[in-house]
Amino acid sequence: MKAFRWLLCGFLLACGLHAQPQTPKAAATIDLSGYWVSIVTEDWLYRMVTPAKGDYASVPLNPAGRKIADTWDAAKDAASGNLCKAYGAPAVMRIPGRLHITWQDDYTLKIETDAGTQSRLFHFDASKAGAGGDWQGASVANWDIEAGARGPLPGAGLRVVTSHVKAGYLRKNGVPYSANVQMTEYYDRVNERNGDSWLIVKTIVEDPAYLTGPFITSTHFKKQADSTGWNPTPCTP
């Protein structure tokens, strides 16, 4: 009987430990860490080169947005030190390059880009997200629980909401977003039978100042074994 009581106590203790809320890092059901390289099989002319002024095909721009895009002046951006305008959070994932994803701490996921040497922090503790106001804004993250999920959630993706971003460009040719932009992203990882792993980043940009509706894109990155090709370069026009 005594042994049984000890067993019961031990079991309840184990349950107690299990029931402690896990840190976001511990609770992660997919591993996003490591080096990832963008594979540009879509929107090539809008990503690998700077498109011509006035070419904003595919972007649901409203008249105000088109007016700004039509009067884009690359030299002016360079002269005013605004070369990174197209590297803000709503656009940086579309810039061809490599990502380095790490856990800054148990509550903060960090994404560094070699293109434009940008750094994004995804805070699982919203109180730590900060005021933003720079190119990357303030990002709050959570492990996404899909409504209507029917089973256990191995592989739940990451959801990130970003706001308070400095006004910038959705594309390098001056297609604008305002400082009121709000962006929702979903990060999912898929693993293939041939050993490839892909990071799929879905980006939903909402900006009533310049867009008629959400601007939705999905960007794919291939997992690399190491940092080969990692090439930090400054923002370019």
């Binding site: 009987m1 049984f4 019961l8 079991f11 349950c15 299990h18 029931a19 059901t29 390289v37 963008s38 594979i39 540009v40 099989t41 879509e42 929107d43 090539w44 002319l45 690998m48 080169v49 700077t50 095909a57 595919s58 972007v59 649901p60 061809p96 390059g97 490599r98 293109a115 492990w143 996404d144 629980i145 899909e146 209507g148 999920a149 029917r150 089973g151 256990p152 959630l153 191995p154 592989g155 739940a156 993706g157 979903y186 999912d188 898929v190 293939e192 039978r193 041939n194 490839d196 892909w198 799929i200 879905k202 601007f215 939705i216 894109t217 999905s218 960007t219 794919h220 090709g229 090439n231």
Partner: protein, 289 residues
């Protein structure tokens, strides 16, 4: 007393491990993809709608053979009656305009999921993704536009493998994959958004797997039919069996696209290297803006 204690332990265990997100639902894994979905054309709208330019193979990991095939392709081939009604292959159809309706088929007795069905109103294609260990058809079985598909849930992502494909578009300007290609897809739902990931493998036409991602949103509108039924007609009188094509080295449009966009012809001719970020330095050296 011991029995009561054991029962208490069991209850506590259920409480402990039943907590947290994703408590097990005996109906099955995954997430419902049911509903009507419509594509969003915020990427490659021009290519996916009106169509890609000739000799625009940017970003595609094509082999030399596939490139030669594309350069030989004359768009007039669409005017031949036997080519007019060609359906978009499953590896391409999600790129174009369509409405997609998804529903599930369950065993009437056990309610076990048998298949996930899709109706794609463009070309009136119905697709079956078998979810129940369906046997693979033999090698000698016919190949179809939608192929033979089996699926499984990986968490909340539907992963689908497809074989038995016909020849079909890599890009709608003469680049085609062979009937030896296989397709892997992932359907990822987040709320009213669906991401479709397609990864095409065909060592004959691609040097590495080709990945594309398409976005869809849940819509109220029901799909109907589009581009079908189709009835071929003779548009141009030609000698019997004529197949419009360009002889090697004689494609008159080789430079047209590259010149229009001020990029090197080498880039326009595609290849795996054109999809990697480091290709940008090659473009800069070539003077592309």
């Amino acid at each position: 007393m011991k029995i009561r204690a054991a029962g208490l332990i069991l209850l506590v265990a259920m409480g402990c491990w039943g907590q947290g997100p994703g408590g097990y639902n005996p109906i099955g894994p995954g997430v419902s993809l049911d509903g009507n979905w419509g594509p969003v054309f915020h990427e490659d709208a021009h290519e996916r709608g009106p169509g890609p330019e000739l000799v625009n193979y940017l970003g595609l990991p094509i082999t030399d053979g596939a490139r030669m095939y594309g350069l030989a392709w004359d768009a007039s081939r669409f005017t031949i009656p036997e080519h007019q009604c060609e359906v978009h292959i499953v590896s391409y159809i999600y790129r174009g305009p369509y409405n997609l309706r998804i529903w599930e088929e369950h065993d009437p007795v056990s309610q076990k999921l048998i298949a996930i069905k899709q109706y794609i109103d463009n070309y009136q294609q119905t697709r079956t993704i078998w979810m129940d260990d369906h046997p693979q058809p033999p090698e000698a079985a016919p190949h179809t536009w939608m192929g033979f598909s089996t699926g499984k849930w990986e968490g909340n992502i539907l992963t689908v493998y497809t074989t038995h494909l016909k020849w079909g578009w890599i890009r709608r300007n003469g680049l085609r994959h062979t009937d030896q290609a296989t397709l892997t897809e992932h359907f990822i739902r987040h709320g009213n958004h669906l991401t479709h990931v397609s990864i095409l493998t065909d060592p004959i036409t691609l040097t590495e797997p080709l990945i594309k991602t398409q976005d869809l949103v849940l819509r109220v509108q029901n799909g109907q039919t589009w581009l079908y039924p189709c009835e071929p007609v003779v548009e141009i009188e030609r000698p019997r069996g004529t197949v419009p094509h360009y002889l090697p080295g004689e494609n008159p449009f080789l430079h047209e696209f590259a010149d229009q966009y001020h990029i090197p012809v080498d880039a326009a001719l595609g290849g795996a290297a054109t999809a990697y970020p480091e290709y940008q330095s090659k473009l800069k050296q070539a003077g592309a803006k």
